[in-house]
């Protein structure tokens, strides 16, 4: 045995390379191992000799069917024809479609569940800001409006000033950065994901 040779490890590889010997297809590293390690070399030579005996016996034992089985078999076959059953048709056609759909749903769930918590809160807060948050009603400071003297009706209706916009952004910022505030507005999808994650943790604990 040579110092660096992993003889025990080589046994599996050598066993799979027995066929390649005669064709001279042994990989270079194996050739080197066989040239340098007497243990591996002996193992390989014994393997080749044993496999040679197995092959010899195999060739000698090979048999040939002298008469076709069909003449007897034809009488033994059941009369009914093997038509595809409803179940096998269902299995072959419906099951793949169902599997693909289920896989897509699972992927979607995993994708949603894997998103970082902060980003989820940010996204839901933004969604709420555009749809459900009422803008604060603050008195309009017309002194800033450059169209104060004009008779433009749109300027008359505008309820927002720079301060009010700042206020709205501050509200939003608070909502985005304070998780406590977001709980006042439960997001159905988010709570579902939380529930799934909770159940998964429970399952992991049970396992």
């Amino acid at each position: 045995m040579i110092m660096s040779c992993h003889c025990a490890k080589n046994r599996k590889r050598l066993a799979l390379l027995v066929d390649h010997d005669s064709a001279g297809k042994l990989p270079e590293d194996i050739r080197r191992i066989l040239a340098n390690c007497p243990t591996c070399r002996e193992h390989y030579e014994h393997l080749c000799a044993a496999m040679d005996s197995l092959q010899q016996a195999g060739e000698k034992e090979a048999v040939f069917l002298e008469k076709s089985l069909w003449s007897e078999l034809a009488h033994r076959l059941p009369d009914s024809q093997p038509r595809p059953s409803r179940y096998s048709l269902w299995r072959q056609q419906i099951v793949p479609i169902f599997s693909v759909t289920a896989a897509c749903l699972a992927l979607l769930l995993v994708f949603v569940a894997e998103r970082p918590a902060e980003k989820r809160i940010y996204r839901t807060a933004i969604n709420r800001s555009t749809s459900s948050l009422p803008l604060p009603s603050i008195s309009v400071d017309y002194t800033y409006a450059p169209f104060r003297d004009s008779a433009d009706s749109r300027s008359q209706q505008a309820p927002l000033s720079i301060q009010s916009l700042h206020q709205t952004h501050e509200d939003l910022f608070l909502r985005e950065t304070s998780p406590g505030l977001t709980q006042d507005f439960p997001d159905p999808l988010e709570s579902q994901v939380r529930e799934i994650l909770r159940q998964r943790r429970l399952l992991e604990m049970l396992e």
């Binding site: 066993a15 000799a49 496999m51 005996s53 034992e61 093997p82 059953s85």
Partner: protein
């Protein structure tokens, strides 16, 4: 034609018969399902020789191998409605044939026979390098005894791969395991066979090596 080439063609469903009638196995299966018995006859003729030989490797008895091969074809016919046409017919047939054979041998063993290979003659040691044909005939018996000492899952792979020359992928399909598992089992089977063969042959093993060695 080399045995492994035949094996490959058989599993691919393109045997010599195909050169005369290039109908695919899948097409024949569809025709059998539609009620055409001749199509099933074609499938039987296409696969019977190889199936008989594979089964014979395990049972080593002509009549028994014929019975098991017939039984395999009957099972195939009965279950043809469940066959998935996107799969290959060859591996499915050999899978059923090999399972049926192994089941038979297991039951026989449970019923009290001590050996999976009941045709083996009484124990005696021989010299595998001998020129005497009677002694050489005994090599087969010796090999069978050694094979018998190898656990079934390894022996099956060894027989299919090294005696019947199926590829690893085909063996994987027949025994319904991953190809990596088959390679692992094959390596283990060969190493086990080598150890048992060396043990059984004793000193008779060494002179052969000197003769074969560099």
């Amino acid at each position: 034609m080399k045995t492994d080439q035949v094996a490959n063609q058989v599993l691919a469903g393109t045997t010599e018969t195909d050169q005369r009638s290039p109908v695919s196995d899948a097409r024949l299966v569809e025709e059998v399902r539609a009620g055409n018995r001749d199509a099933f006859r074609e499938l039987v003729l296409r696969y019977e020789k190889k199936l008989f030989r594979v089964i014979h490797r395990f049972v080593r008895n002509d009549a028994l191998a014929e019975d098991l091969a017939q039984e395999t074809f009957i099972r195939i016919y009965e279950n043809l409605d469940q066959f998935d046409l996107s799969r290959r017919f060859g591996p499915w047939l050999f899978q059923i044939g090999v399972n049926l054979t192994l089941d038979y041998l297991r039951k026989k063993k449970r019923r009290g026979a001590t050996s999976l290979f009941s045709e083996i003659s009484p124990d005696k040691t021989v010299n595998p390098g001998s020129a005497d044909p009677r002694e050489r005939q005994d090599i087969s018996e010796e090999v069978q005894r050694v094979l018998q000492d190898i656990p079934e899952k390894y022996r099956t792979v060894l027989v299919l791969r090294d005696l019947e020359h199926f590829t690893s992928a085909e063996v994987a399909a027949i025994v319904n395991r991953k190809e990596a598992t088959i390679r692992w089992r094959l390596a283990e089977a060969r190493n086990r066979f080598k150890e048992l063969w060396k043990e059984r042959m004793g000193e008779a093993f060494e002179p052969r090596l000197e003769k074969d060695g560099e």
